[in-house]
């Protein structure tokens, strides 16, 4: 069934079709329609979930970890300050190996107050141990939401679905809504291996001395490693059933490319347009979209980018005192490629706080990289594009 839905409602539809059992959420712009629609779905009986209307995001994630530990499929959604308030409990979900799914509407962090998009809220949760999937379209949002539960429950790690404020959250697009029966076949009811069960009592999260703590983190890291292959399988099964797939990364016109743009989120759509224009002019420009940021798809990116002369990374985020975060991660991922295969990487900071990343902005990034050429010295610091003088 095709429906025209906003990105936020695409999340809600995904959660409903996944038959989430416990939802705990607190409203924040621009996430509100996600939870409003879910409240409506619970209210009219389309979704048989318990929806706990908590008094803060911190309590939202706390309720989610409790519900997930008790064996149920659990969901929350938030944005910016809300995600930051959850930070402590995000660690708890991941360290506790609890497959909670969270949708975050990427919103810039205050001060100054901003409700507009950038990625600093989710990227500053990089080290909490959550799998992160960045979406480009509302269809991808819906599909990723359902995929996320399967991925999370297979590796026992939480998954964050990420979509840009307004460009996706409040923008309506036609979305193919899968049939419930097909989703049920893809995603059966969660059966947790271990849960809070009075018939089989266990303690979760007890004091871990130096003699045992490190192995717990190692198991967590191994689960992250496993997530690469699990995502591939989940995505492949989704493709067989529904005809769509996204991968951990996607190459677009990378064949013979001399410059490859690396993007995430909705900037990708604009970049596709720029790549099309370049190709029409005979310029060898391509694009790699990074959908999965954690675990970082190092092997796939090395495969995709080895031998490409130049890479331009568009970062809608900034790690103050260092650089754009995708660029930094990519530099580390490609560092030990043989030098003749290692691209020159240029980082560009764009679109912070919801500033438009127009085709002209992306063209400027490309031009700077083109002018520098593949043989010049490595870029010392990222270039901020689209800032006023």
């Amino acid at each position: 069934m095709k429906k025209v839905v906003m990105g936020n409602h695409a999340v809600s539809w995904g959660v409903m079709l996944a038959r989430a059992e416990v939802i705990a959420a607190y409203p924040i712009t621009p996430q509100t329609q996600v939870v409003e629609e879910l409240a409506k779905m619970c209210g009219d009986g389309r979704l048989a979930a318990r929806f706990i209307k908590v008094e803060s995001e911190h309590s939202a994630m706390a309720a989610c970890i409790g519900a997930s530990a008790a064996g149920t499929r659990t969901f929350t959604a938030t944005s910016a300050q809300g995600l930051l308030l959850m930070h402590e409990v995000l660690h708890w979900a991941a360290g506790g190996r609890l497959p909670v799914v969270l949708a975050d509407i990427n919103r810039a962090v205050a001060p100054g107050w901003s409700i507009w998009t950038d990625q600093n809220d989710t990227l500053s949760q990089r080290d909490t141990g959550w799998i992160q999937l960045y979406c480009e379209t509302n269809q991808e949002v819906l599909d990723s939401t359902i995929q996320a539960f399967k991925l999370a429950e297979t590796v026992n790690l939480p998954v964050m679905i990420v979509l840009d404020a307004f460009f996706l959250s409040h923008t309506s697009e036609p979305v193919d809504i899968p049939d419930q029966a097909d989703v049920d076949a893809f995603l059966p009811r969660r059966e947790a291996q271990l849960k809070l069960d009075v018939d089989d009592p266990h303690t979760f999260g007890a004091l871990a001395t130096p003699a045992v703590y490190m192995e717990m983190r190692l198991r967590q890291q191994e689960a992250m490693d496993e997530a690469h292959e699990v995502l591939r399988r989940v995505d492949e099964e989704w493709h067989q059933r529904f005809g769509r797939r996204y991968g951990a990364i996607e190459g677009y016109h990378t064949e013979g490319a001399e410059i490859v743009l690396v993007t995430s989120g909705t900037v990708t759509s604009t970049a596709r347009h720029v790549v099309n224009e370049c190709r029409a002019r005979g310029e060898k420009v391509g694009l790699v979209k990074v959908r999965m940021f954690r675990p970082f798809p190092t092997a796939l990116l090395r495969q995709q980018l080895a031998g490409v002369p130049q890479v331009a990374v568009l970062d809608r985020n900034i790690s103050p005192g260092r650089s754009g975060i995708f660029a930094e991660e990519l530099r580390a991922a490609l560092y030990d490629l043989p030098s003749e295969k290692r691209p020159r990487i240029d980082g560009y900071i764009v679109g912070l706080g919801g500033r438009d990343v127009t085709p002209a902005v992306i063209e400027e990034c490309l031009n700077r990289t083109r002018v520098a050429g593949p043989q010049s010295a490595p870029q010392r610091e990222d270039v901020w594009v689209g800032v006023k003088a």
Binding site: S59, A62, G66, L196, F204
Partner: protein, 300 residues
Amino acid sequence: MSQPLIKDLIPREELLDSGHLACPGCGGALAMRLVLKGLGEKTVVSLPACCWTIIAGPWPQSSLHVPLFHTAFETAASTAAGIKAALSVRGDDDTTVLAWAGDGGTFDIGIQALSGAAERNDDILYCCYDNEAYMNTGIQRSSATPWGAWTTTTPAGQPKSHPKKDLLAILAAHGIPYGATACVAYPADLMAKVRKAKTIRGTRFLQILAPCPPGWKTADDETIELGRLAVQSRVFPLLEVEDGERWRFSMEHAGTPVKDYIRRQGRFRHLTEEDVERIQKQVDARWKTLERRVQASADL
């Protein structure tokens, strides 16, 4: 009619093992032991950071025979709400979900989550074992610490300068179906309250005074006696409140001199006679307030 014997009132079945890691004479360990006896094995515990994080035992050991989820300091109530929702959505409405927190996790850092759960009337039993300071971190003041008490952050030269927060009244103001104070020194009273709370649906709150020998600077074998003195001196009256408005005392309180309680504890050693007199006046004034509440309830 003869009084029932304590041994007949309290189940013999133990859900807390010996070998747990509490200090000798710990009121908090005794409180858990008694409450679990009252609730039985169909209980799941949500446990934030507190002394009990240690008492429960290091991984992979556990001193409890019920499922236990360790959670973040300020999340006893919200985690419990999530556990309850999960059990309920899968058809289990019988299991008691017990949030078990110290006074720091309840009066201070966890009060927002507790207030949220109470406002929603989430179906949980929240027990605060109240030892009147942050004991697990080495005796720092909490908002449950009484006026005049020494702690490491309220040293004798500058002891606690504010009275203890009236948490039961705060919970009552949420209109929860059942709230009560109890003390490990009165196990029959405590057990009756636990049993009553178990039968009620919605948010139930128990504040259990749990004397702490290292924190109160008392001997290991004085816990029960101090609990009795706290109650009988009306420093810690035993109360119940239903639906946030029907208050009653659950036993007679003799009104013994407060100084008999205060002078037994090292944490009050620095107090002058005038200070102790001031505490007596605070206790007397609060007792009058409570009596008014109880009397007003008689008409309801």
